[in-house]
């Protein structure tokens, strides 16, 4: 199939020879074959989208290209010459750069300083010259950024621009984007796509990894699909008719990603916050009842985090009222473990929801240990049987209770966490970005699970994916600048339309009169 693809691309691309060609790349971790005999070409001025389920081997492949991992077999060609990428330095030298999902910037330094960090440059340099070069570079790719600004003051979208500029300043010809849109607002996504367009025009080769199929359809020239470490299909994007077709290519079966949501009578009030303040979250009023999903949408960093931490007992509220199951905050969390009715599906899977150095059995027991207790003793055998079944059911690879958490890919770890949290059958679920980093097949499963859980429980869903919020939620609350801008029903079409404005802080719309008064 890969030969077929070469014919296509040669016919279509401006320049026949690829910049980078991977041939027969294989990589195994112990028993697990992460990449098997992968051949791919990256061409000048084209965007290759890499699609695949969690654990399909996308990250491994790109880590090999970026010099972090060494392939067991196979050769990488740069302009048809074999290239040994034994370190990240070598990759940068060869003009290959990666924009990571988690940014690698120094928060206390300026944009220009970050960009030139690690450059082999003279000992002293003038700040002005650096800033001027950054400004020129940014303008060339339609990016709007102040080179003197501190990283800590930037939005996620701007930080990402800095990452891109970092690579461009090192003359990267191949740019790999690992789920670049996961942290961006819809507006910032548009900006990113413009930049990618300019990069294409400048003759760069782009690899775009994403789970969001409509984005892939919008930006990709070619689409490569990975399944279980192997390339199952490579074709020009023009030959793909719909996202549904892409989804079925990726998962190997038909996925619709639409869930049926039956209206559900709401019952008992589970969570009531009034005038709640915690860190940057201010004066929040929020209610969650049994039988409903309330989605908090907003760009990350607008106060969702401290709000969730307060609700989940990890942070003491600064002021205001917070009641869970009709009990005040302090009283509820004094009996938190025994009651075991609140589940927090954290965004931070590695740091909070699991212990990297422990095995899956121990990680499973983290929140379920009281179900496997007999007196002071822990019934590990019973827990082992339960978790083995759950790992199979949720499709975690490897389904081995003795595997250590750090050996699992991000998506598989999330599946493990989800299997644990749904096993508890909690009455209140706080789900923070529950599908981030999951593939479309898994997303569908999680959505179904959340809707099923809704029959018994109340769910607070925190997401930056508007599509997710609108597919699942009964009510939507938008957060901006620490405040809940508005809370409204999913069926309030007018307000739903205004969500992007609300997320960007442009709500309520100020009349000119008010603006003038404010400036005066």
């Amino acid at each position: 199939m890969s030969n077929l693809w070469l014919i296509h691309s040669e016919a279509e691309s401006m320049d026949g020879a690829p910049i980078i060609r991977l041939e027969g790349i294989s990589k195994s971790f112990a028993e697990l074959k992460a990449n098997g005999d992968i051949s791919l070409s990256l061409h000048q001025g084209r965007v290759l989208a890499l699609l695949g389920e969690n654990g399909a081997g996308k990250s491994t492949l790109m880590s090999i290209l970026a010099g972090q991992l060494q392939p067991d077999e196979g050769v990488i060609y740069l302009h048809e010459k074999p290239l040994n990428i034994s370190s990240t330095d070598k990759a940068i030298e060869a003009g290959i750069g990666m924009v990571y999902q988690h940014f690698t910037l120094v928060a206390a330094m300026s944009v220009a300083e970050n960009i030139f960090l690690g450059h082999r440059a003279p000992l002293f340099h003038r700040r002005r010259t650096l800033e001027k070069r950054v400004r020129e570079l940014a303008e060339a790719y339609a990016m709007d950024i102040n080179p003197a600004a501190r990283i800590a003051d930037l939005s996620m979208g701007e930080k990402q621009q800095v990452e891109i500029l970092k690579l461009l300043s090192r003359d990267a010809d191949v740019l790999i984007f690992d789920e670049p849109t996961a942290v961006l607002t819809p507006l910032e996504v548009e900006g990113l796509f413009t930049t990618i367009g300019m990069l294409k025009k400048a003759g760069k080769a782009i690899v775009f990894i994403s789970h969001k199929l409509d984005e892939v359809m919008a930006i990709a020239d070619d689409i490569a699909v990975l399944r279980r470490g192997r390339i199952v299909d490579v074709r020009p994007a023009l030959q793909v008719s719909s996202t549904a077709e892409l989804a079925s290519l990726m998962v190997g079966r038909e996925v619709l990603l639409t869930v049926e949501r039956q209206p559900m009578p709401t019952r008992q009030l589970l969570l009531r916050a009034s005038g709640l303040s915690a860190d940057v979250a201010r004066n929040v009023d929020l209610q969650v009842r049994q039988g409903e999903i309330v989605a908090i949408v907003g760009v990350a960093g607008n106060g969702q985090k401290p709000l969730i931490e307060a609700i989940c007992g990890l942070r003491r509220p600064d002021s205001g009222d917070l009641e869970l199951f009709g009990k005040p905050w302090r009283e509820f969390f004094s009996r938190y473990c025994q009651d075991n009715i609140l589940s927090y599906i954290s965004e931070d899977r590695q740091g909070l929801a699991s212990c990297q150095e422990l095995d899956l059995l121990d990680n499973f027991l983290l929140t379920t240990r009281f179900d496997f207790c007999s007196g002071p003793f822990l019934l590990k055998q019973r827990a082992r049987r339960t978790i083995s079944g759950l790992l199979e059911e949720f499709g975690v690879t490897p389904p081995d209770p003795q595997a250590q958490a750090w050996q699992l890919s991000g998506g598989n770890l999330q599946k493990m966490v989800l299997s644990r949290e749904f096993y508890r059958k909690p009455l209140l679920i706080v789900a923070e970005q529950p599908t981030q980093g999951l593939d479309i097949g898994a997303i569908e499963e999680v959505w179904k699970l959340l809707l099923m859980a809704r029959e018994q429980a109340g769910i607070l869903l925190i997401t930056s994916d508007l599509g997710e919020a609108l597919s699942l939620a009964d009510r939507v609350a938008v957060m901006y600048g620490g405040l809940v801008v508005d809370t409204f029903s999913r069926h309030d079409d007018y307000k739903v339309e205004q969500i992007p404005q609300m997320m960007a802080g442009l709500w309520p719309p100020k009349s000119d009169e008010l603006t003038r008064m404010a400036t005066a």
């Binding site: 740091g351 699991s354 150095e357 983290l366 929140t367 822990l378």
Partner: protein
């Protein structure tokens, strides 16, 4: 290093980690041998003397076993704290407090019957040692102090306190001015097993080890300690009361060291005197790392390091090697075992 790559191991090393340990110990002995060579002592003969002195005779083995008991109990205690990643360097002080606590009753009420005296001595030792461990834990959790510094500093306080007691209020008037308490009454002495030279303390140590092993391996609290040691944030997320856990574990840790102090005072010395402080609490740290915090390996390692102490005594007599040589070997063993630990989690390959 150029041309080398360091890669994290995907699978645990298994039995080969024993090999790493042996190589590390061999390496430290070789370094020690080199040191002897500089002094003009034949290292092979010296190592022979060391080994024969420790394990070559009945007396040597008995003495090693006797010295192994306090090291073992202290090490069991620090290993418990290390499991939680709380760095208890204070076993020495907690051991001293245990000895002081245990000595109070036989000094103040020597006429109590054994069935009252011994259990209350143990209780006093456990409470005193435990509190000495819990205090730095309390400050660590409430005021974010560094437990390494606080436990270490409290060792000096504890030793001074012990000196004060035996030089002052508890000094035996019949001791010709020597700093020591009166000999304990027979009811306050943990005796020997039958006609052997081995103290019942050995049985205490065994029972405590089994209890600790069951506690850490099979109980919910033991699991919570493991989680707290692996990831504090995850522990809080899981609703584990981390602050209380740290204080409780440090109490237990100190209590075990205190028990060691009790046994040493009651069984070995039959009184309280400054020579009870023999750096067992620091050796215990070496032992805990050597044994990777596993109670059964701790038993083996305690015996070996106690043997090192006994062997160095004969080395001192036969070859005029200074006693400090034993401490040097101990330090070298700790360093090389810590360095060897690197190879059990990572491997080095050629680029």
């Amino acid at each position: 290093m150029p041309g080398m790559r360091i890669i994290k191991r995907q699978e645990p090393l298994g039995w080969r980690s024993c090999l790493v340990l042996l190589v590390a110990i061999g390496f430290s002995l070789a370094l020690g041998g080199g040191l002897l060579l500089v002094r003009g002592v034949d290292p092979v003969a010296a190592m022979g003397t060391l080994f024969v002195g420790a394990f070559g005779s009945r007396y040597g083995i008995e003495d090693s076993a006797l010295k192994a008991i306090p090291i073992f109990l202290c090490s069991l205690g620090v290993a418990l704290a290390f499991r939680l990643r709380v760095w208890n360097i204070g076993a020495e002080g907690q051991y001293a407090l245990g000895a002081i606590g245990a000595s109070w009753l036989p000094v103040a009420m020597p006429d109590l019957p054994a069935y009252l005296l011994l259990p209350s001595m143990i209780t006093m030792a456990v409470v005193a040692g435990g509190m000495w461990g819990a205090i730095p834990a309390f400050f660590r959790q409430k005021m974010r102090t560094n437990e390494i510094i606080v436990t270490l500093m409290m060792n000096y306080i504890a030793i001074s306190l012990l000196d004060y007691m035996v030089y002052g209020p508890w000094k035996d008037p019949a001791s010709y001015g020597f700093p020591m308490t009166a000999t304990f009454p027979p009811a306050a002495v943990v005796g020997k097993i039958g006609t052997t030279a081995y103290s019942w303390g050995l049985v205490h140590a065994f029972v405590l080890a089994v209890l600790i092993w069951v506690f850490t391996t099979y109980t919910r609290l033991g699991y919570e300690i493991k989680v707290g040691g692996a990831n504090v944030r995850a522990a809080r997320y899981a609703g584990i009361p981390y602050d209380r856990l740290v204080i409780g574990v440090m109490f237990l840790s100190g209590a075990l060291a205190g028990w060691a102090g009790f046994l040493e005072a009651s069984s070995t010395l039959n009184r309280l005197q400054p020579s009870i402080m023999a750096n067992y609490g620091y050796t215990a740290i070496v032992v805990a790392w050597l044994a990777r915090l596993n109670p059964f390996y701790i038993a083996v390692a305690s015996f070996l390091l106690a043997g090192l102490r006994v062997g160095v005594e004969s080395l001192q007599l036969d070859m005029q090697v200074p006693a400090a040589f034993g401490l040097i070997i101990e330090g070298l063993v700790l360093l090389s075992v810590l360095a060897g630990g690197f190879f059990t989690t990572y491997r080095v390959t050629r680029r």
